[in-house]
C-alpha cells in the first residue's frame, strides 16, 4: 500500500504543475497593466518600468513561469500586489477556515447521506424511502447560496439559534457546513440508495441469506462494502465541486477563507493572490482525490492486490 501511495503522490506533481501552468497562463494574459494596480496614483512611466524589473514582469512568459514554479516549490507564492506582503502569509491565515468549512460539510454529507441512503435502499418501498427520494431530488437542485440565505433567515434571523456570519467556534460552522454540504448530501444519499438497491438483489446477497446470516448482518457485512464503492467514487468526484462551492459559502456567511480571499483578489486585480488561491485549491482537489483512491483501494480487493497491499 505504501508503494501505491508514494506512486500516486509522485503522479500528482506533474498534474499540479500542469494546473499551475494553465492558471498562470490565464492570468498572464489578463489585459491591463499590473503596475497600474500597484502604483495607483503614483504611476509614472519610470516607476512602472522600475517596478516591472523588480517583479520580473519584463521577462518572457516562460521565464516568468519558471521563476514562479521555482519559488512555489519553496513555498513562496510571490508578493501580493495590494498588500505587498507574501501571498503565503495570507493563504496560511485564511486556509484553515476553508478547511474547517469543507470538513464540516464533508462530515455532514457523508455522515448523513450514507446512512440515510443505506436505510432507504434496504427498504425501497417504504414511506421513508420515498420521502428521502423527494428530499434528495430537491436537495441536488438547491443552489448553495440561496440555501445559505434561507438558513440564515430561519436560524439566525427568525429563531436566533445560530450565528449568521464569521467563524468562531462550532456553532458558527453549522450553517455553512449544511449549506455547502446539502447538494452533496443529496447526491451521496441518492447514489448510496441506488447502489444499495442494486447490491441487495445480487446473487451473493442471496447466498448470504441462504447461509442463515441475519438481516442486519446481510446489510452490514455483505451489502454495505460493495454498495459503498460507487458512493466513494461520487464523493471523490464531488470534492472539487465542494471546494468550488466554498467560494459561495464563504461569501454568504462572510467567512474569511481562501474562497473569499480569491474573490477579493479578483476584484482588486491582485494576480499573485488569485494564482495562489487557485493553486492551493487545485492541490486540495488532487490530495482529496488521492485519499479517495486509497479508500477505494482498501475496499476493493482487486485493486488492493494490484498494488501488493496488505493481506486479506
Amino acid at each position: 500500500m505504501f508503494k501505491f501511495i508514494v506512486r500516486r503522490l509522485l503522479a500528482m506533481i506533474p498534474v499540479i504543475l500542469a494546473v499551475t501552468f494553465v492558471v498562470f497562463t490565464i492570468m498572464y494574459f489578463t489585459p491591463g497593466d499590473p503596475t497600474n494596480t500597484i502604483l495607483g496614483n503614483e504611476w509614472t512611466e519610470d516607476a512602472s518600468a522600475k517596478l516591472k524589473t523588480e517583479l520580473g514582469l519584463d521577462q518572457s512568459f516562460l521565464v516568468q513561469f519558471f521563476n514562479y514554479t521555482k519559488n512555489l516549490i519553496q513555498g513562496d507564492f510571490g508578493m501580493s500586489y495590494i498588500t505587498r506582503a507574501p501571498v503565503s502569509e495570507q493563504l496560511l491565515a485564511r486556509f484553515p477556515n476553508t478547511l474547517k468549512v469543507v470538513a464540516g460539510a464533508m462530515l455532514f454529507c457523508v455522515g448523513l447521506g450514507v446512512p440515510i441512503g443505506v436505510f432507504s435502499g434496504v427498504k425501497p418501498y417504504s414511506l421513508f424511502s420515498n420521502f428521502t427520494m423527494v428530499v434528495g431530488l430537491l436537495g441536488v437542485s438547491l443552489p448553495i447560496f440561496w440555501l445559505g440565505l434561507l438558513l440564515i433567515l430561519l436560524f439566525s434571523v427568525q429563531l436566533g439559534w445560530l450565528p449568521s456570519s464569521g467563524i468562531d467556534g462550532f456553532a458558527s460552522l453549522i450553517l455553512p457546513s449544511v449549506a455547502l454540504g446539502a447538494n452533496y448530501m443529496a447526491n451521496i444519499m441518492r447514489t448510496t440508495r441506488s447502489s444499495m438497491l442494486e447490491v441487495i438483489r445480487q446473487d451473493y446477497i442471496r447466498t448470504a441469506k441462504a447461509k442463515g446470516v441475519n438481516a442486519r448482518n446481510v446489510v452490514l457485512n455483505h451489502a454495505l462494502q460493495n454498495a459503498m464503492m460507487p458512493t466513494v467514487t461520487v464523493i471523490g468526484m464531488n470534492i472539487g465541486a465542494l471546494l468550488g462551492g466554498v467560494v459561495l459559502t464563504e461569501t454568504v456567511f462572510s467567512i474569511p477563507g481562501t474562497g473569499r480571499l480569491l474573490v477579493e483578489a479578483i476584484n482588486k486585480r491582485d494576480t499573485p493572490t488569485v494564482l495562489g488561491c487557485l493553486v492551493i485549491m487545485a492541490v486540495c482537489v488532487a490530495v482529496s482525490n488521492l485519499v479517495v483512491d486509497i479508500v477505494y483501494a482498501y475496499m476493493d480487493p482487486r485493486i488492493k492486490a494490484q498494488y501488493g497491499g496488505g493481506k486479506g
Partner: protein
C-alpha cells in the same frame, strides 16, 4: 432478481421488436410513463415560454431596469406579485427578464462545451492509444480545478461580460463533455456496425460523424440537460459573488446578492429569485433523470 423474471423481461423485449415501434417512439413512451420527468418537462417548457414572452409580460426598460425610489421594498401585492427591490423595481419583471439571460448563457455555454469537448472526446475515444492518452491527460488537468474556479479564473482574466461568461462556463465544462463523449464513443466503437463500416472502407471522419456520434446521441442529450442546469447554476453563482452579470442587468444571482442586505426585514426579496433558480435547476434535473431512465431502462 429471480431468473424467471429476468428471462421473461428479455423475452418481452424480444417480442417488442416485432411490434414495429421505432426505438425513439418506445423511448418517448417510457419517458411519458415517468410522472416526475413529465412534470420537469412541463415546468421547463413554461420557463422557456416565459423567457420568450418576457417583453410582453413586462417592459424591460421601465419595469426591470428603471429605478423607482418611492416604490422601493414593497412587499408582494397584487400589483407586484413578488414585491419590489431596493431600487423600487418590480421583482417579477426582473425575474422574467433574468430567465432570458440564464437560458441563453446556459445553452450557449453548454453548446460550446459540447462542440469542443465533444470533438476532443470523439477523437480520443475513436482513435484510442496515444492520442487518447494525450487528450485525456490534458482534460484531467482541467478537472483538477473545480469548474466554478476555472470559470472564475477566466472571468477574472478577461472581464465580466456576457460573452466572456459564456466562454468561461463553456470552457470549464469542456473536460466533462470530452469524458462523456469519449466513453460513449468507446462503447459504440466495438459494435459490429462500426466494424462493418470500417470493413467496407468508410473514412474515419465519416464513421465518427455518421455512425459513432449518432449512436452516442442518447447519453449526450442526458448530459446536455444536466449540464445546462449546472451552467445556469454557475451563472447565478458567479453573479452572486459579483463576478458575473453586473447590475443593473437583471440576473437571478445578482438579484440575490443585492437583495441580501435587505433580507432581514424584507425576506421576500430573496425568495423569488432563489426560487426561480431552484425551480429551473429542478426541472432540468427531473428532465435529465427521466431521459436517462427512458434511454436506458436497465439503469433505473
Amino acid at each position: 432478481m429471480d431468473e424467471v423474471v429476468k428471462k421473461y423481461t428479455t423475452r418481452k423485449e424480444f417480442f417488442k421488436q416485432y411490434k414495429k415501434k421505432s426505438r425513439l417512439q418506445e423511448t418517448w413512451n417510457r419517458f411519458l410513463r415517468n410522472k416526475m420527468a413529465v412534470i420537469g418537462l412541463f415546468i421547463f417548457i413554461f420557463i422557456v415560454l416565459v423567457a420568450i414572452t418576457a417583453p410582453i409580460i413586462a417592459n424591460y426598460d421601465t419595469e426591470a431596469i428603471k429605478i423607482n425610489v418611492p416604490n422601493r421594498l414593497k412587499a408582494p401585492s397584487t400589483e407586484h406579485i413578488f414585491g419590489t427591490d431596493e431600487m423600487g423595481r418590480d421583482i417579477m419583471a426582473r425575474i422574467v427578464h433574468g430567465a432570458r439571460i440564464s437560458l441563453v448563457v446556459g445553452f450557449a455555454s453548454v453548446a460550446l462545451a459540447l462542440f469542443i469537448g465533444g470533438a476532443l472526446g470523439a477523437i480520443a475515444g475513436y482513435y484510442g492509444g496515444k492520442i487518447d492518452d494525450v487528450i485525456m491527460r490534458c482534460m484531467d488537468v482541467f478537472l483538477c480545478l473545480p469548474d466554478v474556479l476555472l470559470a472564475l479564473a477566466i472571468v477574472a482574466a478577461f472581464g465580466t461580460n456576457l460573452v466572456n461568461m459564456t466562454i468561461a462556463i463553456g470552457l470549464s465544462f469542456t473536460p466533462k463533455f470530452s469524458r462523456v463523449v469519449r466513453s460513449a464513443v468507446m462503447t459504440v466503437r466495438g459494435i459490429e456496425y462500426v466494424e462493418a463500416a470500417r470493413a467496407i472502407g468508410s473514412t474515419n471522419t465519416h464513421i465518427i460523424t455518421n455512425h459513432v456520434l449518432i449512436n452516442c446521441f442518447g447519453p449526450i442529450v442526458v448530459q446536455v440537460t444536466l449540464y445546462v442546469a449546472s451552467a445556469i447554476l454557475t451563472i447565478s453563482a458567479l453573479s452572486f459573488i459579483g463576478l458575473g452579470i453586473q447590475a443593473p442587468i437583471p440576473e437571478w444571482g445578482n438579484m440575490l446578492a443585492s437583495g441580501r442586505a435587505y433580507m432581514r426585514d424584507h425576506a421576500y426579496i430573496v425568495m423569488a429569485p432563489g426560487l426561480a433558480i431552484f425551480v429551473t435547476i429542478l426541472s432540468l434535473n427531473l428532465l435529465g433523470d427521466g431521459l436517462r431512465d427512458a434511454l436506458d431502462p436497465r439503469l433505473k
